[in-house]
């Protein structure tokens, strides 16, 4: 029974990871990509960690996985913030559709 729950949680986690990756590859500009990565991947990682903790069944493993997730959350938050800040200084969002990175690069 626990195995089944863990499997379902794992699959849902994989779905979110996949969605985040597709978003990063397919979305038009850096802001949309960050949006996809930061949200979907953190949730996906949490679900995968939860499923692994369920499969292992020890409190120690569960706490270690939680720590790993929190560290990944912290790192991705700060790096996404820095990337967004850097992009905003160079190519601010216009509010009229995606920022065209290539044409902005070539204008410089």
């Amino acid at each position: 029974m626990i195995d089944l729950v863990a499997l379902i949680v794992l699959l849902v986690g994989c779905f979110f990871m996949f969605a985040g990756t597709v978003g990063m590859l397919r979305l038009p500009d850096v802001y949309c990509r960050l949006h996809a990565m930061t949200k979907a991947d953190n949730l996906g990682l949490l679900l995968i960690c939860m499923s692994l903790a369920l499969l292992d069944g020890h409190l120690r493993t569960a706490l270690l996985l939680l720590l790993i997730w929190l560290l990944a959350l912290l790192a991705s938050t700060v790096s996404a913030h820095l990337i967004a800040r850097h992009s905003r200084a160079r190519l601010p969002p216009t509010g009229k559709g995606p920022v065209d990175y290539d044409s902005a690069e070539s204008r410089q």
Binding site: L71, L74, A75, T77, V78, H81, L82, R85, H86, A89
Partner: protein, 314 residues
């Protein structure tokens, strides 16, 4: 075909694909990013092969620190020659000779591989001897046993290589004024919080890896690279800054690993033993601590591109 085999084959294909991207990628920066991904894939493969020591070292040094070193080198390269940021370094024009050489090389590798597969597997004599003698050393991690008790000389040479690499980089960069390594936005409270959380944890993990190295996967190389990683973080956030004047303490840290290993080689002579005779676990912990300090300081200074460090903003 089992699921594990499918995963292994996939990992192998990913590794080859990433290696190809690094080698033939048109853009230098892309190649660096692919190299970091290559290091991570390599670490995964070591873990799958049951070599957690190598996986740890590859993740920390191969992916993390080498990646950071290449990124900072790229940034400085672009400062010297802005064209490099868009450069397409190699004009890859296919020549008939290259195809012939590639096919012959592939045939040779395939022949060697197939021959190796068809041979009956021999037990590794050296490995078996290590495992049989390991209890006498009081260690429980065979990797540490090989690195320090059985083949300590190799490790001494490795530390000398690291020191030589640092001295070489100093010779090259001593006349150039390298740019500062801080990132934009390092003054933000969010970044300060990251440092405040990550740094104590990194030091804790480094010490843990050093301490458990005798019995479990870990050791001086892994611990040193984790500490060097936090050194890079401190440089990026401006808490440490490169200093142009060398200091005695830093120089001492740079040679500590080589010096400690030399001591381990010579100390048995005092007792009338042969050089490099095994002195027990305590001596190894001493040598590993010195090596960890040397590795951490050398790698951090390589990133800084300076002979020393100074405190930045508090």
């Amino acid at each position: 075909m089992t699921a594990a085999l499918v995963v292994d084959i996939l990992l192998g294909l990913i590794l080859v694909g990433l290696a190809a991207q690094v080698a033939i990628g048109k853009h230098l920066f892309r190649a660096i990013v692919f190299y970091v991904a290559f290091g991570l894939a390599m670490a995964l493969i070591w873990a799958r092969l049951g070599a957690p020591d190598l996986a740890l070292a590859d993740a920390a040094i191969g992916a993390g620190l080498t990646g950071a070193l290449m990124m900072v080198a790229f940034r400085r390269l672009v400062e010297i020659d802005p064209k490099q940021s868009q450069a397409q370094p190699r004009a890859t024009r296919g020549s008939a000779l290259a195809v012939v050489i590639a096919v012959l090389a592939a045939a040779m590798v395939a022949t060697i591989g197939l021959t190796a597969l068809s041979l009956e597997r021999q037990p590794g004599e050296a490995g078996l001897q290590v495992l049989a003698t390991l209890p006498e050393t009081g260690l429980r991690n065979p990797i540490t046993g090989v690195l320090l008790a059985f083949r300590g000389f190799d490790t001494l040479i490795e530390m000398v290589v690291l020191l030589t690499a640092f001295v070489g980089s100093r010779v090259i960069t001593t006349r150039t004024r390298l740019s500062v390594t801080t990132i934009s936005g390092f003054e933000l409270p969010l970044v300060r919080t990251l440092v405040a959380v990550i740094l104590p944890l990194a030091v804790l993990i480094g010490m843990h890896l050093l301490w458990i190295g005798s019995d479990q996967p870990g050791g001086a190389f892994q611990a040193g690279s984790v500490l060097a990683g936090s050194g890079v973080l401190l440089l990026l956030t401006g808490t440490l800054l490169p200093a142009s004047r060398s200091r005695a303490l830093v120089r001492l840290a740079l040679v500590a690993g080589v010096a400690a290993l030399c001591l381990l080689v010579l100390a048995p002579l005092l007792q009338g033993d042969a050089p490099m005779a095994y002195l027990g676990r305590g001596s190894l912990l001493f040598a590993e601590t010195a090596m960890m300090v040397s590795i951490a300081v050398t790698l951090t200074l390589l990133f800084a591109g300076s002979p020393s460090l100074q405190a930045g903003r508090s």
